[in-house]
Amino acid sequence: MNVSVSSRGGLDLRQLVGAGAAACLQGAGYPIPEVVLSAVPCSGGFVARTGHDEFLVAADEAPQLSAASPPWCFQRSDHLIELTGPDWAQALTAVCPHDLRALGGDAWLMATVAGVDVWLRTGPDSSGGLLIGCDPSYGHYLETTLREVVSETESLKQ
């Protein structure tokens, strides 16, 4: 199985919530996803629309967003896990009830993996890999589980 699991750093995560969130992001030069529960790429990361007035911004540098309220801007500390290699979707079949092979490029999905609530983000080419974000308190468990799933699947194939 051609897939590897690794921790991912270097992304600054901010959550923007409240009336005027879209205008605030636009004012800062970020693209706005039109549809709720979708994402668009931006400056090394993405902007995901997680609700009508709620956005998750992931960028390689801290976004220059006003912390005044509303909208409110919160820093997030999600644990980020990167799955790379063309077999990542097959590896996740053991721990995720969704058929992730159907995810296209630049896709966004909020789902459950190994019992943990996560967000999933593919790059422009979905075969390239997957980025997973979850509550940091579940990060070690999820990453260890994913490593073991990949390892077990590889050993079964030998």
Binding site: L37, T50, G51, A111, T112, V118, W119
Partner: protein, 90 residues
């Protein structure tokens, strides 16, 4: 695996949801202790179509669904305006 089809998120596996009970109007402010106790501890349990709260954990969304408790079939997702009586902020 059983799926629940909700507006906005589509069919999702039931393991992603938390059941939060029947949709009921809030208790009257001047209710007696007997009425409050009855409300807290008793349910009719009669078979039929029930309006229920369901919480989708990954997206943090609440839904009101009508479920036939005889067949366990979810008949429809209810528009929040229809249950405004149970949501004080609406």
């Amino acid at each position: 695996m059983k799926h629940i089809d909700c507006p906005g998120i589509g069919p999702r596996p039931i393991v992603e949801f938390i059941y939060d009970g029947e949709v009921r109007p809030p208790a009257p402010e001047d209710a007696s202790l007997e009425v409050l106790a009855d409300r807290v501890f008793n349910r009719s349990g009669a078979p039929g179509v029930l309006r229920e709260w369901w919480y989708h954990r990954p997206t943090g969304s609440w839904y009101v669904l009508e479920r036939d408790t005889v067949t366990n079939e979810i008949q429809r997702a209810v528009d929040p305006e229809e249950v405004a009586y149970a949501i004080p902020m609406l």
